[in-house]
């Protein structure tokens, strides 16, 4: 049975939450706004990239290749330069990002079944456009290549596959369309939860310290764990609400497929929320004012989003930074969420991420409990 004291705290937190309309509205709007901003504005699958085409082949085959590029929506042909020099000038001036150069022998090679060559020049000062262009043009070349290969298939004759016209590895196995939303949304849920859970918990307790109600609470027979749990439970529900809003926007607004189990996702999210609520509690035991609490939350938040792999792949970081990222709960939660949402994998495959995240939660809540003494000094 839940003790009355605990219930009293939980009920009070809900009333206060409801009364602070501004904060409540922000908490509920945050997942929506964040998703729309990250999902629409920060879009790394770049479409309609301005492209120049230099066609030395001038054949029906080469026109078909150009058409494949323009049909993809990823590229718009904006210029027809006369030589490669002109292309590099256009790229230097920034008026276009990509140039397609088709070999004079292109049509002859295609007809002869040899490897036909085309060259893609890309403005590499914009790495996101560059990588997107590289993979998109490789994809286009492959599709075209498969179509061409079909010509050599004759009924009743043995099939010896010739070389593909272009052979480039395409990244994003689990995200073949290279849609940013698919990649961003699961991570963004983690980012939103980390920030709000940590901040809201820390602020709620520090506010009580500032206004003197904590002293009044301490003079009641309430136990440390009752106060802690009573403070945490309402915010766990708040976290789940935020996550649900973000998921709904992701699924219906950005068509993010959720391939794995929602139940597993919600269950593991509890561990993750526990980590950041615990960090909020720890902050509240250190910070004396709400302003300090806010600053400390931001202090922890920045490495969380920068190092966890949300913004930049961890594989690209120096080894010592990679070790550092192992104490960031979001590091594990990202893998878990991307695993469930994009790969559709289950607990067995995720266990190597779940176990350390649970260990982190136990450690953080343990520290919070130890520090969260019922004393004022």
């Amino acid at each position: 049975m839940i003790p009355h004291r605990l219930l009293a705290i939980i009920r009070k937190e809900f009333v206060q939450m409801r009364r602070d309309r501004l904060t409540l509205a922000m908490m509920l709007l945050l997942p929506f706004v964040q998703l729309v901003v990250f999902g629409l504005a920060i879009n790394t699958d770049v479409k309609h990239v301005p492209m120049a085409v230099l066609d030395y082949s001038q054949s029906s085959e080469s026109r078909r290749l150009i058409q494949s590029f323009t049909n993809s929506d990823y590229f718009d042909v904006v210029a027809w330069p006369r030589d490669t020099r002109e292309i590099s000038d256009l790229i230097d001036s920034g008026s276009l990002k990509v140039g397609l150069v088709i070999d004079p022998d292109y049509a002859r090679d295609v007809r002869a079944g040899r490897v036909a060559r085309a060259q893609v020049l890309v403005d590499a000062s914009d790495p996101i456009t560059a990588s997107s262009t590289l993979s998109n043009s490789a994809g286009i070349a492959n599709i075209l290549g498969v179509q061409l290969l079909g010509r050599y298939l004759r009924p009743g004759t043995p099939f010896t596959p010739p070389e593909m016209p272009v052979q480039i590895d395409v990244r994003g196995w689990f995200n073949p369309d290279l849609l940013t939303a698919n990649y961003i949304v699961p991570g963004l849920i983690g980012v939103i939860l980390s920030m709000t859970m940590m901040m809201i918990t820390a602020m709620a307790i520090v506010k009580e310290r500032e206004t003197g109600t904590l002293e009044q609470l301490i003079t009641t027979p309430i136990k440390t764990w009752e106060l802690m749990i009573g403070k945490i439970v309402p915010y766990v529900l708040m976290g789940y609400t935020q996550m649900t809003i973000a998921l709904l926007v992701g699924i219906y607004g950005f068509h993010v497929p959720v391939r794995g189990s929602l139940l597993l996702m919600y269950a593991l999210t509890l561990v993750y929320i526990g980590c950041y609520l615990g960090l909020g509690l720890v902050i509240s035991t250190v910070a004396r004012t709400q302003q300090q609490a806010m600053q400390m939350a931001f202090f922890l938040f920045l490495p969380t989003i920068l190092l966890s792999g949300f913004m930049f792949p961890r594989a690209g970081m120096p080894e010592w930074v990679q070790i550092l990222t192992l104490v960031i709960p979001l590091t594990y939660y990202l893998e878990i969420m991307r695993g469930i949402v994009l790969k559709g994998v289950g607990l067995v495959a995720l266990w190597r991420w779940v176990a350390p995240m649970m260990a982190l939660m136990v450690a953080i809540l343990g520290i919070a409990m130890l520090r969260f003494k019922k004393r004022l000094d």
Binding site: H4, R5, I9, R19, E215, Q216, P221, R375
Partner: protein, 310 residues
Amino acid sequence: MSDLVVDVRDLTRRFGSFVAVDRVSFQIPRGTIFGFLGPNGAGKSTTIRMLLGILPVSEGEGRVLGFDIRTSSEEIRARVGYMSQRFSLYEDLTVLENLHFFGGVFGLSGARLDQKVRDLVEMTRLEGFEQQLAQGLPGGIRQRLALAASLLHDPEIVFLDEPTGAVDPALRRYFWERIAELSASGRTVMVTSHYMDEVERCHDICFIHHGRILAQGSPGLLKSRHLPGEMWQVRTPVRAEVAAHLSRVPGVSGAFPSGEMVRYLLDPGFDPAAPAAALSASGLTCSAPEPAEPTLEDVFVALSRKRGAS
């Protein structure tokens, strides 16, 4: 259980090198009103917070209701009420929500809690304010709400820290009536104040200054022990000059302004006519000296002067 509900010996609290409470000892018998008197910063709140286990004790020992304040603060907290110096209820909760919350935290629930809240709303005259948020309430109503919140669990002792600190005279009177009622119903009240006049209603008084106890005892005892002689007063618009002048008259051991008066203590065996003659010779505007009832303020002035001189 002993009849002393509070028994404190050599209680000391340091903050770094600052000694906020210095070897304080006092006892409070059950059912009495104990006045803890002294100026701001004298160590009154610090002492109460040690009794409640909010602040750890640096040195010394104390028992509240027989429980050791260093080890059994949980037991103590369940049995005592505390109204802190500043309003420390939830501003964003209504009057009723605050009372229900603190009642719940003290383990009350259901019909018992509802009844208790109704009784206290009536006793503290909060009818009509039940649904209002605490933050919009006038100071007096907030104080009454804080009093109600400290009484929810029928505490055996109530610690009231400056309940009349910033309230109007009518409310001060109201508070002292409630304090008298609590005492009449067998509860013990420890109340701090820096108003000397209102603590005349206490059974026992403890003067504290710079963390040290200057004197303690019943108001009558304090006056007879620390005011040897007669209190006199003169009415004057030039209080500082008159006080300074009187201080030089032999037999006048202390003269201080109080309201529109200057009060002074005439040591035993001296002629009351001498100060009067000295004043009229000075040419300062003032009325003729008249005998005055000794007050606790006189005691406090006499005590702090003696301490300052030594």
